[in-house]
Subunit: 312 residues, 2 copies
């Protein structure tokens, strides 16, 4: 197999970034992919070597790092900033304008400025891979890439593992507070779980997914969302409720919905995610893990592969 070489710059370097580095080293060669990490930039500065531990070699921010290395692809594993999308957004603008590809696990820039980013990429023949923003390494965005020629008419998804875990445990008899605490103890929920439990995280994912599936340019501000924080065990009355992300055309909402036994999403339990895609030819459902450093790293890895193949 001929090997494709790519020079990469990482923005951010937490668990996902380190898992991706390991994956590239362990799995790159047999996939025909030779990714060389030329720079890592995070809040503290710039590293210009390939190391598992961040070592600051230079002062500077993302654009400085870009100018120092001129990579083929930017890998964004920085944390989401839903206020401004920064510093990712400015880096994407600069990189895409130079024809440099972007592969991201960070939802914020695409949930805020999808159309602008895609237009810029198209104008400069650069690619944007964003599988890891929705369902992590479980093909969702990339599954849709296999479905060219179909018209997607409706999407339903369970896109947030934290809330699905809590709701699953409440259906099994726990109170909301017990279930949340358990999720926190298991690392499924953050200390401040607000963005998960109020539906915001699912809404960000739904924004990206709907834009891609239906060729739209929604912002997260266009998505109506409500969460599970006011659901109590007593109000469930034994019914199964899931936090459903739903879109049909330009209408997109996230809300808790009662699910019947016949629903293909009925058996999606715990931290599992699922996506139910309705097209003009067929309905397809995919389920899999929606989080985890290894999974997110795999989502990024498969985007890099697809970019080298020309599918993205």
């Amino acid at each position: 197999m001929t090997s494709v070489s790519l020079r990469a710059m990482f923005l951010g370097y937490g668990n996902v970034g380190k898992a991706l580095r390991k994956m590239i080293k362990e799995r790159g060669e047999k996939t025909g992919l030779n990714v060389k990490i030329e720079a890592v930039v995070n809040r503290s500065g710039i590293m210009l070597e390939d190391s598992d531990n961040f070592i600051k070699n230079k002062e500077g921010g993302p654009i400085d790092a870009l100018n120092m290395t001129n990579p083929d692809v930017i890998i964004d594993v920085s944390s989401a900033n839903y206020e401004s999308g920064e510093p990712s957004l400015s880096l994407y603008r600069e990189a895409l304008s130079r024809g440099i590809h972007v592969v991201t696990a960070n939802k914020a820039p695409l949930a805020l400025r999808y159309g602008e980013i895609m237009d810029l990429a198209k104008k400069h023949s650069a690619s944007v891979g964003f599988q890891a923003t929705v369902m992590s390494g479980t093909p969702s965005i990339n599954l849709l890439r296999l479905m060219r020629g179909l018209k997607i008419v409706k999407i339903r998804g369970i896109l947030n593992g934290t809330t699905n875990y809590i709701l699953t445990r409440m259906h099994q008899g726990l109170e909301y507070d017990q279930a949340l605490k358990e999720a926190q103890a298991l690392g499924y929920a953050e200390t401040n779980p607000e963005h998960d439990v109020n539906g915001f995280d699912a809404a960000a994912k739904l924004t990206i997914l709907t834009n891609f599936a239906m060729g739209l340019n929604l912002s997260i501000k266009d998505v109506v969302f409500s969460g599970i924080e006011n659901i109590r065990k007593s109000s469930l009355k034994g019914k199964k409720v899931k936090l459903i992300a739903y879109s049909e055309g330009r209408f997109a909402k996230v809300s808790p919905e009662e699910i019947t036994k016949e629903d293909p999403l009925y058996n999606v339990e715990g931290v599992m995610n699922a996506l139910d895609i309705h097209s003009d030819i067929q309905e397809v459902v995919i389920m899999g893990p929606g989080a985890g450093p290894q999974n997110a790293a795999f989502g990024l890895f498969s985007d890099i592969v697809l970019i080298t193949k020309g599918l993205i």
Copy 2:
């Protein structure tokens, strides 16, 4: 979007072939795909024009048609011949040797001679698309193409809609003979349902899937299979049984298995198909229709798109 032009030759011209012709005309342009049908060959002879109804223009077989037109891609929608794989197999050998791609909905050649066909394709830099042989238009083979870099360790699938329909109806209270008759009346089972109910069809699909997922060269003769023809309502005792296609390494078998409520395949009902892929990083399950002319045509269509993109 720049359009890619391909000249195609069809082997066989039944419902699937005609549905694909329609799809190419209706959806090709907006997908950037311009497929020109230069020849159709079936048992009665050769058509050298593009028409919804077969019109015999010339006497001759598949190789004659190939020599007359020199297409870029062969589309095999002929019926399966599990004795010899002919006439498909000889056509593939000739076409692939000339660097002509093959896209097929016909399981027989790949279930009999997977390794030979793939080696020949590789040697001559030709591609073989075979999404439509397993789960029709629901991404199964092509979903695995998104997962390069993962090691697939185990596969479990419901790959035959006829038997799943019969078992679903038996679970709902019908006797085997009633359920089979109903499936026949609805067009889900053939007049002679032998290859479906005895597990052979699922075994052919499992052979292809396992070879592709695990890099093997099994023949259908290597797959142990049993069917549902001896299952009676009384022996089910209310339990849910599914015909499960299972492989792990070189071991591949098809057999009826009792399914528990927690199993991701539990809710796969009626003619739906499903595939449960276990890799060294994640478990992913996809469900969707496994048959129908439109669905099979879409499976072929997406293979043609992926060949032009270089992913296959």
